[in-house]
Every structure is written in C-alpha cells, then in structure tokens.
Symmetry: C2
Subunit: 124 residues, 2 copies
C-alpha cells in the first residue's frame, strides 16, 4: 500500500538544512485498512460504560464474569449491559460463552497488547 | 466508590447452585472517574486518521516526526493534520515540541501500555 509519491515532492519547504527534521522511517506504519480496523476497536472502548464493564470483568477471578454480575456495578439494565458487551465481543476484546441460562464474558488474553503492538509497530 | 448495595439484592436468580457463576473480584475495577478518563483517550484513537498518524510517528526513527512529514501519508492538509495531532496530544498519547518553525511530535513512551494496565488492573 506504499504510495509512490516521492516525499520531496510534497514538502519543498521542509527544513533539511536543520538536520533534525525528516527522520527516516524505521518500520512500516499501519496501513490504511489496519488503521480502520484498529480505530473500530478503540471506538468500542471510547465509552465509559464499556471501559467499566471490561475493567470489572478483568477484576473478577480468572478474568471472567457472568452477565448477572455486571448489571449492578454499572447501574444499567441487563439488556443495555448485554448491548455494550456485544460491542466489546464484536471488537474482539471479550469472548462470550453461554452456560445454561447465563452468558459468561472473559477478557481475550493479549487483545489490548496486540492493539498497542499493531499501532506502534512493536510486533511488526 | 464501592456501592453498598448487596449483590444478592439485584440478582436473585443468579445460579449460585451451579458453582461456576459469581467468581469473586480479585482486584479493584477502574472507578467511574478513571473509566471516563480512559474512554476519552480511547475515543481519541477511535478515528482511522489519528491511528494512522500515531502509527506513522511511531514508525519514524526515534518515534518522532515533524508535522511536515505527516501530511503526505494521510493525504490531508496541514491544518487538518495539526487538529488531529492536537487531539492526540490532549489525550496524552503524543508529546509536541516546537523547534523553530516546525512542530515535532513523539509517541509518549508507555502511554498505550499504561492504558491497558489501568483497564485490566495489571498495574493496580
């Protein structure tokens, strides 16, 4: 996805003479498709209720909690909580498992670390 | 900030008898104020252009780039790019330093790791 536009064509006034500007790229940045995907995941976390839910689940033993334990900490109805949880599952941050009548949610191990790595190229 | 509502008051049908539900809290979840703050930072990243900008900066040598190097990768005007960069600075993800006529942006070391730690309690 690399553009073929030479950098020198777009920034003729760049202060090359200063020496400090224009440090070279040392790795590849996230491509536009990856950026869209990452932004989608971060957007799922851009809501205080969802941050609280993920945090409460992570604070439970084993990083897992029953939906029945999640309504009280956020003070919302179970349908509303389930809606928020679904967005976190869709974003790949939580896993959902149905056991009998209850749904259990667990934090996907390493999901947040992977986000950071994709973003800053630490894994690339 | 702990509520005094006994858990048993809000979820009378919880499947205690199954043994698997209602795992205990093993650490404190992010409190509501922290959740609001974290959500604000994640929201700043909930935009593909800002993800690209952060990623491009991180891909530069030393994790730092001149604003003059950032317009071309995202294909936007410098005022628009500066606006997005300001939001990332406000969120604590980037640091900005003016040198002569150019502004340089660098990734705040550990900012993303700290987010994850605050969220999942790994640092708490």
């Amino acid at each position: 996805m690399a553009t073929t536009l030479p950098l020198t064509d777009v920034s003729p006034a760049r202060p090359d003479e200063a020496g400090a500007c224009c440090s070279p790229l040392v790795r590849e940045a996230a491509d536009p498709e990856t950026a869209v995907e990452l932004a989608r995941v971060f957007k799922a976390l851009g809501d205080p209720t969802r941050v609280r839910l993920l945090s409460v689940i992570a604070a439970h033993e084993g990083g897992e909690a029953c939906v029945c334990d999640l309504t009280e900490p956020v003070g919302l109805s179970q349908p509303t909580v389930s809606h928020h949880l679904r967005l976190l599952v869709d974003a790949g941050l939580l896993a959902r498992e149905q056991r009998g009548k209850w749904a259990y949610y667990s934090v996907v191990p390493g999901a947040l670390d992977r986000l950071g790595a994709l973003l800053t190229g630490a894994a690339g």
